[in-house]
């Protein structure tokens, strides 16, 4: 795992609660709002299960800590999107909170419904970008959620030991977290 320069992290009183909201203007219309919300709820919950940080969705986009939206091309943050595939999404380090997804991608919540060959799993990308929002940079571990690339029609949502060790070094461990909840292969490779 790796961090951004200076190892920035959210600095709030414990128990830490971060709010998130979806842009009312920059969204996609072919996935239902309920599906999108469910995907992000699960993605945030994965990180929440390993660190003492809770995430709550709020309606007020402008006051939320984490602002989520879909954008196309140049959208004013100096990091233009490039159409189908290429760059899928980006997010900013703490405590910026912006999480942007490329509106040109064929986002999928279920590959049985989204038949496109270039469909991209929303939950995998959301989980990865939340890692950036929290302060993790890209990992060299191919199986880690924080590895930078993701093939179309591929799902990679489970945090691996590299992700967990990285984020827990920043925020500490969730008292209810158990290593046994991770992949057995991860645990054995870590032991070795």
């Amino acid at each position: 795992y790796a961090y951004f320069d200076g190892e920035p992290r959210w600095d709030r009183s414990s128990p830490m609660i971060l709010t998130y909201a979806f842009s009312p203007d920059h969204t996609i219309d072919y996935l239902s709002s309920a599906d999108i919300r469910a995907v992000f709820e699960r993605s945030f919950a994965r990180w929440s299960s390993v660190i003492p940080v809770n995430f709550t969705e709020v309606d007020d986009y402008y006051s939320a800590d984490i602002k989520i939206g879909w954008y196309r091309g140049d959208h004013g943050d100096g990091q233009p999107f490039d159409g189908v595939l290429g760059v899928l999404a980006h997010a900013f380090s703490p405590e910026n909170g912006r999480l942007h997804l490329d509106g040109a991608e064929a986002w999928a919540v279920d590959f049985k419904e989204q038949k496109s060959k270039v469909a991209v799993d929303l939950e995998s990308v959301a989980t990865h970008e939340i890692g950036h929002i929290l302060g993790l940079a890209h990992s060299a571990v191919k199986d880690a959620v924080m590895y930078p690339s993701l093939s179309p029609r591929t799902k990679k949502v489970d945090l691996r030991i590299d992700d967990v060790e990285g984020i827990q070094a920043l925020y500490g461990s969730n008292p209810n977290f158990k290593y046994s909840s991770l992949y057995e292969s991860d645990i054995s490779s870590s032991r070795s």
């Binding site: 795992y1 595939l85 290429g86 940079a137 890209h138 930078p148 093939s151």
Partner: protein, 118 residues
């Protein structure tokens, strides 16, 4: 008879994983320091974008120079690929894959502490 390009097999493999822009980089497969290939400056822009090259745009040439070799090596190291310094098939497959737009630059890999019992 049309001759097959040496990159054909790999090209087919990554076709569904790459977009048009990055897919065109497949023509640089197996290039190494000293190679001179038209359009190499576009690949340099890719490395520039993701934090591996800091050469100004106007100075980007089509030659596989020392700076590019060092960028390729750093890229391979950062992404857990074999460090060959060449645009080998593993490296090209990764370069043409869709990815997160966050730069790989300005990251610090955590060093694990090693304790000794005295």
């Amino acid at each position: 008879r049309k001759l097959l390009d040496p990159s054909t097999e790999l090209t087919a493999d990554v076709r569904t994983n790459s977009n048009a822009t990055w897919h065109s980089f497949m023509r640089f497969l197996d290039a190494e320091k000293g190679s001179q290939l038209r359009g190499m400056s576009e690949l340099k822009k890719y490395f520039q974008r993701f934090g591996y090259l800091s050469i100004p745009n106007q100075n980007l040439t089509d030659s596989f120079d020392e700076d590019l070799e060092s960028a390729v090596l750093q890229y391979q190291k950062n992404l857990g690929l074999p460090a060959t310094g060449r645009l080998d098939s593993d490296t090209m497959k990764e370069i043409t894959s869709p990815r997160c737009g966050v730069s790989d630059k300005k990251t610090r890999t955590a060093q694990k502490l090693h304790a000794k019992i005295h």
